[in-house]
Symmetry: C2
Subunit: 350 residues, 2 copies
């Protein structure tokens, strides 16, 4: 792991501070560590989708990962390292085997499930406007919930209180090198199966998935372009990437892609600047249409966040005609009752 790298740019609280950043070796280590803990998800293709977009596309199906999202990789990688550190610590310093985080969804469920698997207690701070399907999944996985007001500041305050009360270790959803390295293992598996890709793409929320994926690409297939996709109404990563200054999203942007409402993290931003080639944006209408097309062409339920790179592909925004494109399908946790077209409404309000 590289240490002491200046993130540059400042903005959104980074202040130009130095942070540790993961490198390709950390992704390789994560892959070894996660063997037997995470599912090697299938890679699928669709001639019908290829025809629509004029490219040859393969989909790494993290919607079929344990807990229904790639987040299980990063959460497990962090937690397994915490457990290993505890095992080597002396008795008194071994800690209480409690982990905590704040999450509006998939990361919380993933951490809860990973914690349950190794006998840790897990506490998740959840904003009260979170997707109820995801909140239910966090509870079902055995975590304790602490609810708070929406927004980053109330979440961090509530989490600090949990840590003060319980001595919990914190695993941040994306601004954590162990988490980023773990997320990169999905791209590692995809590149092992498809070493011919011209472009790899993934959605961008906090940026952990695309940052980890970019590390895998640079280590395994440097010629491959890495392109992120983001909702137009939550375009902080695109503005940060193209502007050269990390900026955040104020409040909770009105995108159906509930996994992408947060702002890009310090570490992901620093890795984007080094390893990512482009970040593109798509409309809300295009996201919903891409969800429907994923159902029709791939027979897969993808969550709105995962439909974002598909929407960009359908708009011709990723790669060139004839190129081979790899997509990380990030998750499949959908509240069927609020998804517009699943509820019979083809025109989303945004």
């Amino acid at each position: 792991m590289l240490s002491g790298v200046a993130t540059g740019g400042g903005g959104a609280g980074s202040g130009g501070a130095s942070v540790d950043l993961p490198d390709f070796g950390d992704v390789v280590d994560a892959h070894d560590r996660l063997r037997g803990h995470v599912a090697r998800t299938p890679v699928l293709g669709s001639p019908r989708f290829d025809e629509r977009v004029g490219r040859r596309v393969v989909f790494k199906c993290e919607n079929l990962q344990h807990a229904g999202a790639f987040k299980f990789r990063g959460a497990s990688n962090a937690l397994l390292q915490l457990e290993a550190a505890r095992a080597t610590a002396s008795g008194a310093g071994a800690g209480a085997r409690v982990v905590a985080t704040h999450s509006s969804g998939n990361h919380g469920a993933a951490l809860a499930r990973a914690a349950a698997a190794i006998g840790w207690r897990c506490i998740v701070v959840v904003p009260h406007d979170a997707n109820p399907v995801k909140t239910a999944a966090i509870c079902a996985a055995g975590a304790e919930l602490v609810t708070c007001e929406p927004g980053l500041a109330p979440r961090e305050t509530a989490l600090a209180e949990v840590v003060a009360r319980t001595g919990a270790e914190v695993v941040h959803p994306f601004d954590d090198s162990r988490v980023i390295a773990g997320q990169g293992t999905a791209a590692m598996e995809l590149l092992a199966d498809h070493p011919e890709l011209d472009v790899l793409t993934a959605p961008v929320g906090g940026g952990g998935l695309l940052a980890g994926s970019a590390l895998a690409v640079r280590g395994m297939l440097p010629s491959c372009r890495v392109v992120g996709a983001e909702p137009e109404v939550a375009d902080d990563a695109a503005r940060s990437f193209h502007g050269g200054v990390r900026v955040g999203m104020p409040g909770s942007p009105p995108t159906i892609a509930d996994g992408l409402r947060g702002s890009i993290g310090v570490r992901p931003y620093a890795l984007f600047r080094r390893h990512v080639d482009d970040v593109v944006t798509v409309s809300e209408r295009a996201i919903v249409e891409a969800m429907r097309i994923a159902l029709e062409d791939l027979r897969l339920l993808v969550e709105p966040s995962s439909a974002v790179p598909l929407a960009a592909l359908l708009a011709g925004r990723i790669g060139a005609p004839g190129q081979r494109i790899g997509v990380i399908v990030s998750g499949g946790n959908v509240d069927l009752s609020v998804c517009p077209f699943l509820a019979g409404d083809p025109t989303p309000s945004h």
Copy 2:
């Protein structure tokens, strides 16, 4: 292959005649023949679904097969044998490389795609009330369409006319030993991955999938029970199986499971009598609910026909609590516009 086996029972046109029947060796041969031609589809599980049904369930995802259904296996197995026979025939007897069938959907698309892959012309007789998504898939795969009135007699008449006009070889959707053996290869793959199953289940329309699956089970894991699932309103296989006389469905039964509207074939019926342990039925409402649960728990779009065994599992009709159940998820070709809950209507009319 066993030959000259009396099917017994008569009814629905079998008249107690002798027909050739495939055996386990034919399934093994099919598996060898199909290598590189069909996809080895993934096997998925869902802790949430397991909890709902109190059993440990694995799903063999033929909805992710080429052309979106298991039918590609049987169609390819038949066509590859036709091509091999043609290659060894003398010049004059080598035939015109034309294949034909009648199909309301998946078999037609599968045969069309398999034919295109080896350069054969394909003609498909389709009733005019067929699922338009499936008809479009047949055209997209390069087949010529001939439309006819619904019902078995008009379909067979139209097909006979096609054969007289073109000299086409016929590949029946289910009453063909080559097709049955090919369909059994999905269960072979599932049993190779999961040799611990207590029960294997699949939907029953013409019966080719369950018959082929039963051959695989008897050859690989004789202790495993084989259970078919069928819509209540298209229960000809259940009545035939339990009554000991093959009976057909008059007309087109009003089930949303459009792949299961046909009657059980002569060969499948004979194989059911030898190798199948039970056939259970489910309501239309239960089928639609099972489709929704497959989306939520498995993140998979399954067609209504494929939801039938899931509905039976959800009703506690298959296996016992704690048992390990394998399900062949037969296909994923769904017309989103007519699926009740995808169109926002949770209460089907039947």
